[in-house]
């Protein structure tokens, strides 16, 4: 599908800060180096630890395909998050098709890298959020996109995105942060 990537261009029209106009002509390696970690964080928060690698890989493969045609001055991170959003939806749909319906939330598989770490705590809190809340929280609080851009990606208005993110954060405070408040307070000091 040689043209599949082209449809991913021009979605994000916002222009980055001055002086980054030729950022799109950088070697793609630089793009991976600079934005890979944030996109992985976003993928992990939106689709969870197991599907995150696939979502990340699909995102960067798709981005690399379209990269030579990315207009100069594009906000590369917003562009990547836009692609990641679509790949994450694909992963979530595929996961839902694979899942066997049960009455309870299935146990999160024990983390491959950090057993008992964020996979079992943070992700089990995140996965209980409605999809739009989880996306809004990730795109705004992890990727740093303004709500106007979050709205462009997930649909709806900036106000709705702000509300979804705010509701998501409130829910996470209740389900995740509160039992761990001692640790959280330390993180807050930074």
């Amino acid at each position: 599908m040689p043209l599949a990537g082209s449809s991913e261009i021009g979605v994000v029209h916002c222009v980055g800060p001055a002086g980054r106009a030729d950022v799109s002509r950088e070697p793609f390696d630089k793009v991976v180096e600079r934005h890979g970690p944030t996109v992985l964080r976003v993928c992990r928060a939106v689709v969870g630890p197991d599907a995150a690698d696939d979502a990340w890989s699909e995102t960067f493969l798709s981005a690399m395909r379209a990269y030579p045609q990315l207009p100069a001055g594009s906000n590369v991170e917003a562009w990547l998050v836009t692609i990641a959003h679509r790949k994450a939806i694909d992963e979530l749909r595929a996961g839902a098709r694979r899942a066997i319906p049960t009455g309870d939330l299935p146990q999160v598989p024990s983390g491959k890298d950090m057993p008992g770490g964020w996979e079992s705590d943070l992700w089990s809190a995140l996965r209980q959020l409605p999809e739009k809340q989880r996306q809004s929280v990730a795109y705004h609080h992890l990727a740093g996109l303004p709500y106007a851009e979050v709205a462009q990606i997930i649909g709806g208005t900036a106000q709705a995105a702000r509300r979804a993110a705010s509701d998501g954060i409130s829910a996470l405070r209740r389900t995740y942060l509160k039992p761990r408040h001692g640790q959280a307070a330390e993180g807050e000091a930074s």
Binding site: D29, R41, Y67, L142, A165, I169, G187, E188
Partner: protein, 207 residues
Amino acid sequence: MTTTSDAPDARALFAALPEVDADAQRRLHARLAVAASDAGILDVAYTTLDTPVGPLLVAATDRGLVRVAYAGEGHARVLAQLADSVSPRVLRAPARLAAVVRQMEEYFAGRRTAFDLPLDLRLSSGFRRTVLGHLPEIAYGTTASYAALAALAGSPKAVRAVGTACATNPLPVVVPCHRVVRSDGTIGRYIGGSDAKKALLTLEGAA
């Protein structure tokens, strides 16, 4: 990376989710390099290797080796030039350079006298490219003067242009511009510096 005045505790919320997971980045980068290569969109693959003349960057297109660069040229700058002149789809992908690296290692160990690699000479054109085409005729362990090379390239008067062709050789070491020396016997200039030129000629037993 963002100020989130609307939720000051958001940082703490996601503190457990690593900002940079170096192991995951390495794993995913390697996976991307394979997938991009399989998809035919890895336009420029590169890697670096340590040699007696310092770290060398080697880059290849699907046609062959396209660039060898000394550290003095600035590897980041060379990659930026490749992004501009060949394609911005550039990734560190050592698999495509495996044969290049192996032959380089053999050469620097004194176990190889000629490179047998597909070359992509697209970064050189016209007379410069003609000159590069004649460089492999200067045998391992020997040298030729700029004037002799000009004659070999069919333009005996173009000595200066031959110098330029050597100075802009995109594939030093592999295309042996280091074997071209001045008529008075002095070593002459070199893209990797005259110390590197001396080292290569010494390795080959020509100096």
